[in-house]
């Protein structure tokens, strides 16, 4: 897979935005500024970036509780996202959704989802809309390794095969479902093969390798846009942080994480390869990093100062208010 320089830049910036958005968000969370739960995507950036690289606003994604990376990859602006995770009036969901329900329909981002396995049937529904209208877009469900066992996900895969829908099941195998290891919770030990047995082409790739993910997705897109039905892709990329902020991670070692950061950092791996195959330099990356840090700091600071919802907003956006 050979990508030109603007594409490489864009890919890197996308991943870098994810990294810095989450690490900065983490700082704000630990400072008590964000409510609820927050789930870090660090270590998995190449998955969302690779899966969404060739999608447009007319394609759909349905996301998970760990959704910030997906949003960024799908083109949500981080300023709007920051407002939402701060639960501000002008956030993407007016502060009613927060981190676990962030959505941006105009970008085809159908929402983070705090129900494990909730994304898959919804993505199939968007694929059904695409097919009914005769469009050539696709719909992607992001699904964690833990979520891969949920009945809803299996049902969704079967229905997508039966109706030959342009749905792509993007499995994010980050090694853990909360505190439970994938080797324990997935009885077959192989998410991709299990998906394949539902009757669709199935890929398994290194989820820390942007190029590998993007390549698998390109094949999936050709298949799905060609009217041949759904595809699944399992991307393996262990997470760097706890399940959510506050998880002390007694179930894994500091060494595992240090080793991951050293040898399987999707951004570092990308930089290396990009510098070897294009004219991008260390300095280019440093400049991109700096710009992104600045942008995200500004976004977080603005969000922190942005207006809160009005108390009466509690009652809006339901079809009907009872008293």
């Amino acid at each position: 897979m050979n990508l030109d320089e603007p594409t490489l830049r864009h890919a890197y910036e996308t991943m870098r935005l994810m990294r810095v958005f989450d690490e900065t968000g983490r700082r704000e969370f630990l400072a008590g500024k964000l409510p609820g739960f927050i789930h870090m995507y660090c270590g998995e950036e190449a998955i969302a970036a690779g899966i969404c690289a060739e999608l447009t606003d007319a394609d759909y994604i349905a996301s998970t509780h760990r959704g910030h990376g997906h949003c960024i990859a799908k083109g949500c602006t981080i300023e709007d996202m920051a407002l939402e995770i701060f639960c501000r009036r002008d956030g993407l969901c007016r502060g009613k959704g927060g981190s676990m329900h962030i959505a941006d329909l105009k970008k085809g981002m159908l929402g983070a989802n705090a129900i494990v396995g909730g994304s898959a049937p919804l993505a199939v529904g968007a694929a059904l809309k695409i097919k009914t209208r005769g469009e050539s877009n696709v719909s992607v469900a992001f699904i964690g390794d833990g979520a891969s066992n949920q009945g809803t996900v299996f049902e969704a895969m079967n229905l997508a095969v039966v109706l030959k829908l342009p749905a792509i099941f993007a499995y994010e195998n980050n090694g853990y479902a909360e505190m439970t290891g994938v080797d324990y919770h997935c009885g077959s030990g192989d998410i991709a093969a299990r998906a394949g047995a539902f009757g669709m082409p199935s890929h398994k790739v290194d989820g820390t390798d942007y190029f590998a993910v993007r390549e698998a997705m390109a094949a999936a897109l050709a298949h799905a846009r060609g009217g041949k039905g759904p595809v699944s892709i399992e991307c393996v990329a262990p997470r760097w942080y706890g399940h959510f902020e506050g998880d002390p991670q007694g179930y894994r070692t500091k060494e595992e994480i240090a080793d991951l950061q050293e040898t399987r950092d999707p951004l570092a791996l990308f930089r290396e390869r990009a510098m070897a195959t294009s004219s991008l330099t260390e300095a280019d990356f440093t400049a991109m990093d700096a710009a992104i840090t600045e942008r995200i700091e500004a976004a977080m600071a603005a969000a922190d100062k942005a207006p809160l919802p009005e108390p009466d907003d509690l009652y809006t956006d339901v079809y009907e208010v009872y008293d």
Partner: protein
């Protein structure tokens, strides 16, 4: 005006709306008559109760969609399609099955509008069968709609006959939020006068089945007929004047029509086939004691199913939903209360 069964009226509502709007699709188990069989006969079934018969032949496989028996996938697919622009009608064959798929309705479809800050809702209708009377036992006979009504974001319709069913279903399909459309299986074969053309009945507007100044009866679904019967008998036998109100939609509930009547009568019976705890019967009673207390002149009597599952035995099942006799007795009790 022609006589039509409720089955036909519902079928016609779907047909009219599908003809009018290409975004309306129908999805569910065997709604297209069953696919993948030796004989490809779109008229073979049309759902187990024949309610969707003929729609497959008219609108084709792209819009009348048979599915595997996977209700979460069906409801989720409808919700996802609704969120992105279609207006699906999804069939949940028996409402009893909500337990395998409710997340996609209550946490997803029903909450989209709110949790996405108003970006979009899920304009979908879930057609589903409720109620006892066939001897089908505990898992196929429940009137489980109070659970739907509990959920903010879900509207819940409970037609008591063919005329209402048609107008309410057309309205439900055009509504921009998810609507649970609960069809009582014992009403499918019941006939009423129903216009051939399209018409809409608003959601949230009760029907005053009969006027009356002595007692107000609020009855739901199949109970409306029985309540009207009980009222007529009492009027004939004892000269009582009994108002019967059919809310038609239980969420939203037409509070005003009920309170207006209670203001006149001060005496209330609520009749519902669902089990009693946290039910619509309780909801209506509690609404009245909150907002109509000053009119109340007697305890409110709820006539409901007992707090038990629905037994299979017809002998036992006959005593399960309210009967006209039990309703009459309750009306007399509140009327005679001093």
């Amino acid at each position: 005006m022609a006589k039509m069964t409720m089955r036909e009226a519902i079928n016609q509502a779907m047909r009219l709306e599908m003809a009018r709007d290409p975004d309306v699709i129908l999805i569910g188990e065997d709604v297209a008559g069953g696919r993948g069989c030796p004989v490809d006969d779109g008229e073979a079934a049309g759902g187990v109760m024949g309610v969707t018969a003929g729609l497959y032949s008219e609108f084709g496989a792209a819009r009348v969609i048979d599915t595997p028996i996977t209700e979460s996938a069906i409801m989720g697919a409808a919700a996802g399609a609704a969120l992105t622009g279609l207006r699906p009608i999804a069939e949940l064959m028996f409402a009893d099955f909500f337990g395998v798929c409710f997340d996609q309705l209550y946490n997803q479809a029903a909450k989209f509008r709110y949790m996405f800050g108003g970006q979009h809702g899920a304009p979908m209708v879930v057609r589903t069968m409720v109620g006892a009377g066939m001897g089908a036992g505990p898992q196929h006979s429940q009137a489980i709609y109070p659970i739907f009504a509990h959920i903010p974001g879900l509207k819940v319709v409970l037609p008591s006959g063919a005329y209402d069913a048609k107008g309410l279903l057309i309205q439900a399909i055009r509504d921009n939020d998810p609507v649970m459309f609960c069809e009582h299986k014992m009403l499918y074969g019941e006939e009423e006068e129903v216009p051939e053309e399209s018409y809409q009945l608003p959601l949230g507007k009760a029907r005053v089945v009969r006027e009356g100044g002595d007692v107000t009866v609020v009855a739901l679904g199949r109970m409306v007929q029985l309540a009207a019967e009980a009222a007529a008998t009492l009027e004939k036998d004892s000269g009582l004047s009994v108002a019967v109100i059919d809310p038609r939609t239980i969420s939203p509930l037409d509070v005003d029509t009920i309170l207006d009547s209670v203001e006149e009568t001060g005496r209330v019976v609520v009749v519902d086939e669902a089990t009693p705890i946290c039910s619509m019967a309780s909801e209506v009673a509690s609404m009245i004691v909150s907002d109509g207390f000053s009119s109340l002149r007697a305890p409110i009597r709820k006539v409901t199913a007992p707090h038990t599952p629905v037994p299979a035995s017809p002998t036992l099942e006959a005593g399960y939903p309210p009967t006209a006799a039990k309703i009459r007795e309750a009306i007399e009790a509140v009327y005679n209360y001093r």
